[in-house]
Symmetry: C2
């Protein structure tokens, strides 16, 4: 199993509507990209200061399937249309489980 984990912070002034658009856009991806085995998104619970605000954990059978997801046009469209406009910072790791 191969896992992709990515966290984001959003720019100041990002609205609840914009955050909801990110979540709605990402949640469509498992429908559009059958290589995704498991896909979870989560908002930070607000317990610890300095955290990132949002996380995606996505599981794939292989590196190759992750690359299909990474480069899939539906995914790239979500990034370009709803993530990039509010993106402040991004941290990511991909690893073999």
């Amino acid at each position: 199993m191969f896992r992709h984990v990515v966290m984001f912070t959003w720019v100041a002034g990002t609205t609840e509507e914009q955050k909801a658009e990110v979540e709605a856009g990402l949640k469509e991806l498992p429908v559009a990209i059958p290589e995704i085995r498991r896909y979870e998104v989560g908002r930070d619970a607000g317990i610890n200061p300095g955290n990132h605000e949002f996380v995606v954990v996505a599981d794939f059978d292989s590196v190759e399937d992750y690359l299909v997801y990474r480069d899939h046009p539906v995914h790239r469209a979500v990034i370009a249309d709803v993530i990039r406009p509010i993106l402040a910072s991004r941290s990511a790791v991909q690893y073999t489980l």
Copy 2:
């Protein structure tokens, strides 16, 4: 279920031995802290530039169990003894699954 995800980058010059000490120290935590339900560590696969180098994904039954882990002296000792000396940057999210 409540999940803690944290990523690290290490300072320049960090040795393979130091990275292995982090992994060994963290892998002892599920033995010491029974509140941990699932605990995974992973090194970045090196596919994408700009990634963080290391990730921990830890699952708990509740926020309260996560807080036991966060503040547990065995965990704090791993942070102080083997993580902090090589820590360059850290990104974290906790969220309800």
